[in-house]
Symmetry: C2
Subunit: 570 residues, 2 copies
């Protein structure tokens, strides 16, 4: 079989303007970015306000493994499949970060014959939204450090006399706003800035990957430009010397940050290999952020089609939980069905059984042990009230015996049903069974509800997430987290949903605990307010908000050939 | 008169596709970015190879002052004027950096009725080229620090065994490649990175503004994607422990960096308020870099028109010198005429005479003293061999008496002639006299030649630039510069042209020396190789490669209104 980039390159894409037209987007609502990408105006949703919302299908997965479960493949494949059986479906996915593209080998366009194309345009700059987020984010960082510098240099009174601005009295040890870059940049995780005689007070700072920026979450959760602007204004950038929050509004930088993001608020339209529309918008990771693509893209897609297929990052304990308790709470747009993606390999890898056997070989003992992980995710998703379809993403080495065994086991669970997806190898045709099953599931009654009420105390919400969301025996708060809890309550930031930042490699906080861990306590190390995004981030254990490049990074294989074409993207 | 953004907003832009078509760009050579920007393929120049090159007009100025001389206004106005008198002219300018846009109040689109529109699209992201430069630059920084980390952690032998890559033995005290961000970020000028147990060796680093990135110079000086790739491969990122250069090629990151820049290599087409084509491409500053827009844009414009008007940053000692000795040497494209922009205010401010009088009021003593600065710049430009036209950028407060006096004085110089430009207030019509004069000048014989030969020793080239380029009595090298000189000679980097990084606010190295300073020595503090750009940068005195935000930064005025439109950009 051809590589992903070969398939993408050989495919004759349709002009994106033709796809937009076919799906009812008017010329005035479209801004082309080259021939295969276009930004789409939010006016579409207004113009088509009277059309009923499409059925929303959310794609999640079992606990991820290094083998790759194919969640994006299934999201794109399902969209292709739904259109192939005569329905109208749009996909909505996140914009890939360049960090993983150059770090580990691989982009995030799906794969095989279930891809968004052209894959190199998706995986690199797209239409510049991540750059806009980085730029707006770092403008705020520059603004706060410049203010600190001038106020320190002149003193509060002289500063006010010279500038006409009220002194903010920023506490240099409590600058909460870090910086961002869209790369895997280990050495920037923790830095000290301001060295040199004229460069300002030396103080700690650091860089996160842009996907972890609160602005990225804001982009994904906003309803429109006005909502975006108001959220930016509320961002807490630092504390003053009395411990009170200093917001972007108080610093006078919220308007300029919004100006940097006026184009970024429009989703980008691309196409699947079958020519179906795919919106790409916002890119928060699901371990260190809320892990779902934008509400705006869903809203537009919902007016152009009858089925919107979107994806939540990592396993259902991660992106799907945040989809349910954060995104749906902001959008009000409830899913009609959920898809849990699984592979035979993933179940074996999640079995907790160490084995030297090739993971591609049949091994019912490991499969059976690993099945418990799938069962847990089915139950976890079912709890929220939407029908659950299990998509078994088939690999060429998979045996019929094991697949049949798995489907029988799934029949004993709360799942609506299961289907084998061969979207990777066969594109739309390989996903038709799955599409039929999802269609049926989405016609069921769905009573979607969140796990907790935002009015509950922060402790209660944390405990609910730990016990119900992960099956833990409880939570423990570090001393720092306890202090931060008091601060949050004192400053009125208690009635927000919680965004847990934890490892995706286990349902628990410990990546080594495979399968369905029990009897563990969730250690909360920090609690941070994200007043713009509208949630409290709880850091669990050691969470890296900036990845690092490995010993043999993906960038080594990437090049530009003599025709000016990019090669080596996987 | 309306503000710049009001004029831009009220203007009905033509679809950029229509302008492209009118000027002979084929559909397949155009990539739209919205309705008013498009990237243009390098294939244009190949297809039209047989057409003679357009006459190249380079716009420079007297020593800049805080009052603004209107060089971009004159560049755009002259293009409008040339088209208005029935000729075919394209403008080629640099992409504005967001640093100044949010730092000091103002963009770089020209002004009044001599603007590139829409100005907010020019001043913010444009088509993402600066973001691409930042991203490719910082990828290299991440790559070198990651390699240092893994080699340090494992030791050279174990690193090679684990990765299959040869150890580079990077000297952590000689990482030459800093990082970049497109903001005014004082506190990032000098930083320490790698704190924390698992984040790598602590070492010094820092950020420059993206305009100062060597990649930006490379983008501006490359002929095509292959040239770009080869230049990137040659970049010296660090020294090894033996003092030998480590290049991007050796690190294996050159291909990926090129991949990040495959779209950036295409210039962006926009329009003037008169609907004339304006290419915007690359944005090196003229104080800390070579300060000229791209060779690729000039080459394309040259095939579409009969006159290409481009601009070099700051006074003629800065961007024009580098245009002559660096850009023309790379492009082989010699100018047919040069325009020196001057204003009455600039001459008074350059007079060296302190005065409490309003600078807008007539003051022949100051004007006469300041005239020497203009005379110096006329002579400086004439030396290179192209006819010199002086453009007097008229302000509403200018009196006829002073203007007449100035024109008479110019008649006594080596200049071909002078014309008053009212492009700011009157657009194309206000620049017709200037256009006629430039047309005549460009019909003269022009014997353009550079100031020195690259084969000369570095010391000789520095001395030539100091004595002939600035009228200095000599140069002095710091101990560090002397060491670096030896290193450059040892490693074969001696036969490159020189790019001086110095203050633009004086012909000398000292911003306080106004008018025509004499009897000074040029203090070279550092000599750095830019093997990709193909020059040696000589830092003169204290040169900041990263600006800072002021006490009342421009961002305070910028906002997004209820219609989603950006307001407050000046």
């Amino acid at each position: 079989m051809l590589s992903d980039i070969q398939i993408s390159r050989l495919h004759q894409c349709q002009p994106i303007a033709d796809i937009a037209k076919k799906w009812g987007i008017e010329d005035s609502e479209l801004s082309l970015f080259g021939h295969h990408k276009a930004k789409v105006s939010l006016d579409v949703a207004k113009r088509l306000a009277a059309k009923p919302q499409a059925k929303l299908i959310i794609v999640t997965a079992v606990t991820p493994t290094p083998h790759g479960e194919g969640k994006t493949v299934t999201t794109i494949g399902l969209t292709q499949g739904l259109n192939a059986i005569g329905l109208n479906a749009c996909a909505c996915i996140r914009q890939p970060s360049m960090g993983p593209v150059f770090g580990i080998k691989g982009g995030a366009a799906g794969g095989g014959y279930a891809q968004v194309v052209p894959m190199e345009e998706l995986n690199l700059h797209l239409t510049g939204d991540i750059h806009a987020v980085s730029s707006a984010h770092n403008l705020a960082a520059a603004a706060i450090d410049a203010r600190l510098y001038h106020e320190t240099r002149l003193g509060a009174q002289a500063f006010t006399e010279a500038s006409g601005l009220e002194a903010l009295n920023i506490d240099s040890e409590n600058i909460l706003w870090r910086r961002v870059v869209d790369h895997n940049e280990r050495s920037l995780r923790q830095i000290e800035v301001g060295f040199g005689a004229v460069n300002g007070p030396v103080h700690q700072s650091g860089f996160d990957i842009t996907a972890a920026s609160e602005l990225m979450a804001i982009l994904a959760l906003s309803q429109d430009i006005d909502d975006l602007k108001q959220r930016i204004a509320r961002l807490v950038l630092a504390l003053d010397v009395d411990g009170n929050p200093i917001t972007a509004q108080m610093l006078g930088v919220a308007g300029a940050m919004t100006a940097v993001m006026v184009d970024a608020i429009k989703p980008t339209l691309m196409q699947t290999l079958s020519g179906d529309p795919c919106f790409v918008h916002a890119g928060p990771f699901a371990n260190i952020a809320h892990g779902n693509s934008s509400i705006i893209a869903d809203n537009i897609a919902s007016k152009l089609s009858d089925y919107v297929v979107t994806e939540a990052g990592f396993g259902s304990d991660m992106g799907f939980e945040k989809f349910s308790n954060i995104k749906v709470r902001n959008s009000g747009y409830k899913p009609s069905a959920a898809v849990v993606v699984v592979t035979l390999k993933a179940l074996k890898a999640n079995s907790g059984i160490e084995s030297d056997n090739d993971i591609n070989l049949p091994d019912l003992a490991r499969l059976s042990a690993g099945f418990k992980n799938l069962q847990w995710h089915i139950n976890n998703v079912s709890r929220y009230g939407a029908p659950v379809v299990v998509a078994i993403n088939r690999f060429p080495t998979d045996t019929d015996t094991e697949l049949e065994w798995l489907q029988q086991q799934i029949n004993t669970t709360a799942a609506f049903g299961s289907a084998i997806s061969e979207a990777f190898a066969k594109g739309a045709q390989g996903a038709q069974d799955l599409a039929q099953l999802v269609k049926q599931a989405s016609e069921q009654d769905s009573q979607f509800c969140s796990l907790y009420q935002t009015e509950q105390s922060i402790e209660t919400k944390l405990l609910t997430l730990a016990e119900v969301g992960y099956g833990a025996s409880g939570v423990s708060l570090s001393d720092k987290a306890k202090e931060q809890l008091t601060w949050l309550n004192t400053h009125g930031y208690n009635a927000l949903p919680i965004c847990i930042a934890k490892t995706p490699m286990s349902i628990s906080h410990d990546p080594k605990l495979k399968g369905v861990p029990t009897g563990f306590e969730v250690p909360i190390t920090q609690l941070k307010v994200n007043a713009g995004a509208g949630f409290i981030t709880a850091l669990v254990g050691k969470v890296m908000t900036m990845p690092g490049l490995g010993i043999k990074p993906g960038y080594l294989d990437i090049d530009v050939d003599q025709n000016g074409e990019i090669v080596g993207l996987a």
